[in-house]
């Protein structure tokens, strides 16, 4: 269980995280979603006590993580797969971590096998691909068999087979009753992985709900109507409370169902040439929700 309480972090004049409060529960995979620069990594660094909050607190398993003398048996984490020394072998890296936490050496062999790096264990990490480094990072996170696991963008650099493996691993860890907290800036990565979602933008909480609840937001229909009397229909729909975008004869309508539009058109004897409904995807729901808080829009003049 991770309890984040009114967490704020400022770096000079930049507010990376602002008044963030949420809880991550055990037994589920919780996705931590937000556009680039939203403050996900900053939040995770504060969970691990690497960065000191400007105000607020994070409690992990009943205690502030920094107060624990040794961490691996409490929280396993992968913040950045590059946070290793390229000159060491995978086995040396893991052996040092294990020894610092009094974890037996046989556990090192175990996790290396589990992540599929047994063959590469004695090779220097500088020769590893990003995907292999991600696997090594996941192995470090698993070393202490911890009840809480944190992963920052763990799917970066993995091939499709690796992505499926990681998803299955997360689901299994959650099924064992662990707290699994996984960040991503892509909804598509979370869609098939997370049970719960914490969505942030510009450091602030946007949504904390189940994936099902989140997708319900996305089922808001968008209806496309084409009619020669578009001006008349537009006014009628606006009176019903719909949001309408006009493009020539075409109206893109949200907030009123296709059925209701058909009824209104019939009542007022307006001919319709085209009427179709389309529900938006999760990705669109995410984009819509975070649109106001995206910091770096593609093609945006900087």
């Amino acid at each position: 269980m991770i309890e984040v309480n009114e967490l704020t972090k400022r770096y000079g004049s930049t507010t990376a995280v602002k008044d963030l409060t949420f809880t991550v529960r055990p037994g589920q995979v919780t996705g931590f979603l937000g556009p680039n620069g939203a403050g996900k990594s900053t939040t995770l660094r504060m969970v691990l006590g690497l960065h000191e909050p400007t105000s607020g607190s994070v409690i992990v398993g009943g205690r502030s993580f920094r107060d624990r003398p040794r961490g691996l048996r409490h929280v396993g984490s992968l913040l950045d797969a590059h946070d290793v020394h390229g000159g060491r072998s995978a086995i040396a890296q893991l052996s040092a971590l294990a020894r610092s936490n009094r974890i037996p050496q046989r556990r090192v062999e175990e996790v290396l096998r589990e992540v599929g790096l047994a063959e590469a264990a004695r090779r220097r990490i500088s020769g590893f691909s990003l995907g292999m480094k991600q696997r090594l990072g996941i192995a470090s996170a698993l070393l202490g068999d911890p009840p809480v696991l944190l992963f920052d963008e763990p799917l970066n650099g993995l091939d499709p087979e690796g992505v499926r493996w990681v998803r299955d691993l997360f689901r299994r860890l959650a099924a064992e009753g662990r707290t699994v907290f996984v960040s991503s800036h892509l909804m598509s990565e979370m869609e098939h992985t997370a049970d719960q979602l914490i969505v942030i933008g510009r450091g602030e909480l946007i949504a904390a709900e189940s994936l099902a609840e989140f997708s319900a937001r996305g089922t808001r229909q968008s209806v496309t109507v084409s009619t020669p009397a578009s001006a008349v229909l537009r006014d009628l729909l606006a009176a019903e409370g719909a949001t309408i975008h006009t493009a020539g004869d075409l109206l893109a309508v949200t907030g009123v169902t296709a059925v209701r539009i058909g009824e209104i058109a019939m009542e007022h004897r307006i001919p319709l040439h085209h009427l179709s409904a389309r529900s938006s995807s999760l990705e669109e729901a995410f984009m819509e929700l975070t649109a106001d808080s995206v910091q770096y829009l593609a093609g945006d003049p900087q």
């Binding site: 055990p26 037994g27 660094r45 691990l48 006590g49 690497l50 960065h51 000191e52 398993g61 993580f65 920094r66 107060d67 624990r68 003398p69 040794r70 961490g71 691996l72 048996r73 409490h74 929280v75 984490s77 913040l79 950045d80 590059h82 946070d83 290793v84 020394h85 390229g86 000159g87 060491r88 072998s89 040396a92 890296q93 052996s95 040092a96 971590l97 020894r99 610092s100 936490n101 009094r102 470090s140 202490g144 068999d145 911890p146 009840p147 099924a175 064992e176 009753g177 662990r178």
Partner: protein, 281 residues
């Protein structure tokens, strides 16, 4: 499902007591698993021993050209002990060990390994203390080997001209001990500067200033300058390897020089251990 939950609740509950010596062992694994560690220590050892042996070999070579009086003075003036560890060799050793000590911590900061380390062991001071212990121990062994080998080799070479001294000769042991212990003190200095500055190039410049420039700047001209100079490691070493009467207007004791070693070692160790505590990593 419920049973698994209960099991996970118990995870971490049977955690063994945290022990400092496990951290020391972990830091030792980290140090020895880097090929660059061995290359740096090995190359420095070879260079320093070669410098010293080369000087002794020069003396051996040109011995026949010395006058009888000159030869007699050679041992009386304690020159064999000066050749046991030369000033050039000690400069090379100090700079190299400063860099090795700095890299021991900068290797973690520049690669981001420090975050992995502190996420595994939130007790940052303990980690830094363990790292300090390992760097000090390895550098002490290095210093002992290099100073011992230099003494043995140079005196063996000089023995070819009957000018070599044994370790029992007055002052000989002090030359070896002062040269050997300079290695860990310089490594600690580099490590402390690296821990505070955390950036490679700035750390290297600061190490060179602390180790090489300061002892050159503070000369024996005035009293305050002489005292400041005496507080530098190089001048303390020079005092300790000095044989016979001091050649300065501001003489000082070997006890004073040992104290300088101790103060540098302690101050830099404290800096290295505490520097990471309050800062974001």
């Amino acid at each position: 499902m419920t049973t698994t939950y209960a099991a996970v609740d118990e995870l971490g509950a049977d955690e063994p007591r945290a022990r400092f010596h496990d951290l020391v062992a972990a830091e030792w694994i980290k140090l020895r698993s880097l090929r660059s560690t061995w290359i740096a220590y090995g190359a420095t050892a070879l260079a320093v021993i070669a410098f010293n042996a080369g000087t002794a070999y020069d003396t051996y070579n040109y011995w026949p050209e010395r006058s009888a009086a000159d030869r007699a003075d050679f041992v009386r003036a304690g020159i064999p002990l000066q050749e046991a560890f030369t000033a050039n060799a000690v400069m090379v050793m100090m700079l190299a060990l400063g860099a090795i000590g700095a890299v021991a911590i900068l290797g973690e900061y520049s690669t981001g390994t420090i975050r992995t380390t502190f996420a595994a062991v939130p007790a940052r001071r303990s980690v830094m203390a363990a790292k300090t212990v390992v760097v000090t121990a390895v550098s002490t062994v290095f210093g002992a080997i290099v100073a011992g080998a230099s003494f043995g080799l140079t005196q063996a070479i000089l023995d070819g001209r009957d000018a070599g001294l044994s370790i029992g000769y007055p002052g000989a042991l002090r030359v070896v001990a002062a040269s050997a212990l300079l290695a860990p003190v310089c490594a600690l200095t580099g490590m402390a500067i690296g821990s505070v500055i955390r950036h490679t190039s700035a750390t290297m410049v600061a190490s060179v200033v602390a180790i090489l420039v300061l002892p050159m700047v503070f000369t024996d001209g005035r009293h305050w300058s002489a005292v400041a100079g005496h507080a530098t490691l190089y001048q303390a070493w020079s005092r300790l390897v000095e044989v016979g009467s001091p050649r300065t207007d501001f003489p000082w004791t070997t006890g004073g020089a040992w104290t300088v070693y101790a103060v540098w070692a302690l101050t830099t160790a404290v800096l290295a251990v505490t520097s990471a505590q309050r800062r974001d990593q």
